[in-house]
Amino acid sequence: MAELLGFPPQVLFGQLLIGLINGSFYALLSLGLAIIFGLLNIINFAHGAQYMLGAFVAWLGLNFLGVNYWVSLLLAPLVVAAIGIALEKTMLRRLYKEDHLYGLLLTFGLALIIEGSFIHFFGVSGQPYSVPQALTGGNNLGFMFLPTYRAWIIVASLIICFGTWYMIERTKLGSYLRAGTENPQLLQAFGINVPLLITLTYGYGVALAAFAGVLAAPIYSVSPVMGSNLLIVVFAVVVIGGMGSIMGAIVTGLLMGLIEGLTKVFYPEASTTVIFLVMIIVLLVRPAGLFGKEA
């Protein structure tokens, strides 16, 4: 059997596929962050908490209201987006003209409050959420056993990611959004309701986080700290991709998943740090990020 870099190809392919699956989560989450930063200039530190909220809404729905996974996949992002919109209307809105730091502090504080109250009511040990019946089982691909649910994660997140990219970069609505960030006064002069546009954008970014949360619920335990574990990595992904770049966030998310996957084969001890290493190198070589526009 030929070997690649000292490992049988089966092992390597398996790891690459796994990397792609994890990358899908990074892409989905960093996309939401990138949209919010790109259009609102807010560094949304509550993103991890909103991701966790998505998973919890799904869990609560299943256990107390009998709402199944598929409905939750639609419903949870809407519920969490509504909470997000309320936050935007009452608090975030006041900070657009201030320094980035204020938005960061506010959202970070909110994240701590949300997580803290969930820890108080649900504990940290995590609640089980089973994989929906239609997506149980898996296929043997020859080089690895691929659970159906993991395949679904790739498909679902790629559709959402590229759909979002298309909407922002290729449609009329998207052009309003982009115009709104460039010159809100001018856009308003054309009769477009810019504040509403911004509110909805924040809601959409938050909904993306909640969607990722529902996707994650069956494979990771639904726990109040699930978001804070992931958030730092996702921020690194956004920085590597270039703050505010939509395509950059998606591609970098997938790429970092792959790099992390390979690290897990060659030197597993470094698998949690490799992304930050990449971040340092990218910042040294291209301070605006891989896809960012040089200032």
Partner: protein, 406 residues
């Protein structure tokens, strides 16, 4: 008459002597203070945390809130699994708040740091949560007791049983820090002694979110047994991923080396069924354990883990020793605790050895199938009892400075 006078005199004299002795020793500053230290909100808070504090309070209430007429009080703190925070807190407790005994204690690293403080200040600690067998081996002190379980007991209990049933080739998923390394080392020894071999392993960072890559490597190794030398959220995540990738369906078996009742409850039986594990306590074992667990559940909403049950038992044993010794002075209480066997719902004929290890029967358990479980917390069946003298590291192998001959 003369006789009676003489008797009266001696009675008075001895009564005065007894009073004098009690005054010299007695209860320091008229209160017995217990400090409960644990991870109260993080990864390990479900297995000990607030539940353990409630167990300690129950022990004090059951004792009547007073020992020898002196009030018993309890304080608690969150060590956040950080040795420096834990050690500083305990130093403050002892110096400022006059705490006499520290209970709970989860992360092994915190425990080793705290025990050094407790030894230097000559107070007492009773460790219920930590795993590392080093606590009563190279790090043993005359001031500390390790109460519930340790890595040696887990490795021997689960490791031996698994190899005996034909699981003779192992692949380890090991948490990359002191506890994981110790666990892997202890199990490796057991596996080799029992005629098995270790074909490989991965050391993963603490608090790994995604185990799919490591599970894939475990599958590729072809080992019969995948040993989980990790704890808390890492173990539950690894088990979940193993289930998803069909590890058990493909013919490999999992051996969880440190599994708590709350882990199994959180994962559900569908994922954990058939898993073998070693535990120091299971609530549904005898009438006594059931009765206590019921009272505990009424207060906390959950059944107790072995750690939480151990906290109750250890606080109770401590208070009994204070009562019998008539003082909370360290050496007298330690001597009293070591010479009194522990007989309660938690342990039968438990005995604290000179190295501080409390030896008691351990249990090899198997997680039930969903069809066998009759209620939410009906999770284990006990396969066999591992007798106290077999469960823990024999003194002849001890490196502890307190053991004769060392």
């Amino acid at each position: 008459m003369k006789m009676i006078k003489k008797l009266m005199c001696s009675a008075v004299v001895s009564a005065m002597a007894a009073a004098g002795a009690a005054q010299a020793k007695g209860i320091s500053d008229d209160e017995v203070r217990i400090g409960y230290l644990a991870d109260m909100s993080g990864t390990y808070s479900a297995l000990a945390g607030p539940g353990g504090l409630e167990a300690a309070k129950m022990a004090i209430e059951d004792f009547g809130g007073k020992v020898n007429g002196k009030k018993i009080t309890i304080v608690s703190a969150d060590d956040q699994n950080k040795p420096d925070i834990g050690a500083n807190k305990v130093r403050q407790w002892i110096d400022v708040d006059n705490v006499d005994m520290v209970a709970g204690m989860v992360s092994s690293a915190v425990t080793i740091a705290v025990n050094k403080v407790v030894e230097a200040k000559d107070k007492i600690s009773i460790v219920s949560g930590s795993a590392s067998s080093a606590i009563t081996n190279q790090y043993c002190t005359a001031n500390s007791v390790h109460y519930v379980y340790d890595t040696y007991a887990l490795a021997h209990g689960t490791g031996e049983a698994v190899v005996k049933e034909g699981g003779d080739s192992w692949f380890f998923l090991t948490a990359d820090y002191a506890f994981g390394h110790a666990m892997e080392g202890d199990v490796t020894t057991v596996v080799k002694e029992s005629g098995g071999k270790v074909v490989g392993g991965v050391r993963h960072p603490l608090s790994t979110n995604d185990f799919s890559s490591f599970i894939l490597q475990a599958q590729a190794s072809g080992a019969k047994i995948v040993g989980l030398a990790n704890a808390g959220a890492d173990t539950t995540n690894a088990l979940k991923t193993a289930k998803e990738f069909g590890v058990v369906d493909a013919g490999q078996k999992l051996a969880g080396l440190l599994i708590f009742l709350t882990d199994v409850y959180s994962l559900g039986l569908e994922t954990t069924q058939g898993l073998q594990l070693t535990t120091g306590f299971y609530w549904d074992r005898t009438d006594e354990t059931r009765a206590w667990a019921k009272r505990y559940e009424e207060r906390t909403g959950a059944k107790p883990t072995m750690v939480q049950a151990g906290v109750y038992s250890s606080v109770n044993h401590y208070l009994n020793a204070v009562k019998a010794a008539g003082t909370d002075e360290t050496s007298a209480v330690m001597a009293q605790m070591k010479k009194t066997p522990i007989n309660d719902f938690f342990a039968t004929n438990g005995q604290i050895r000179e190295d501080g290890r409390m030896i008691h029967d351990m249990y090899l358990a198997e997680v039930k199938k969903p069809s066998e479980s009759k209620s939410d917390w009906d999770l284990y069946k006990i396969l066999r009892t591992i007798p106290a003298d077999k469960a823990f590291r024999p003194l002849s192998e001890s490196k502890c400075k307190l053991v004769a001959g060392n």
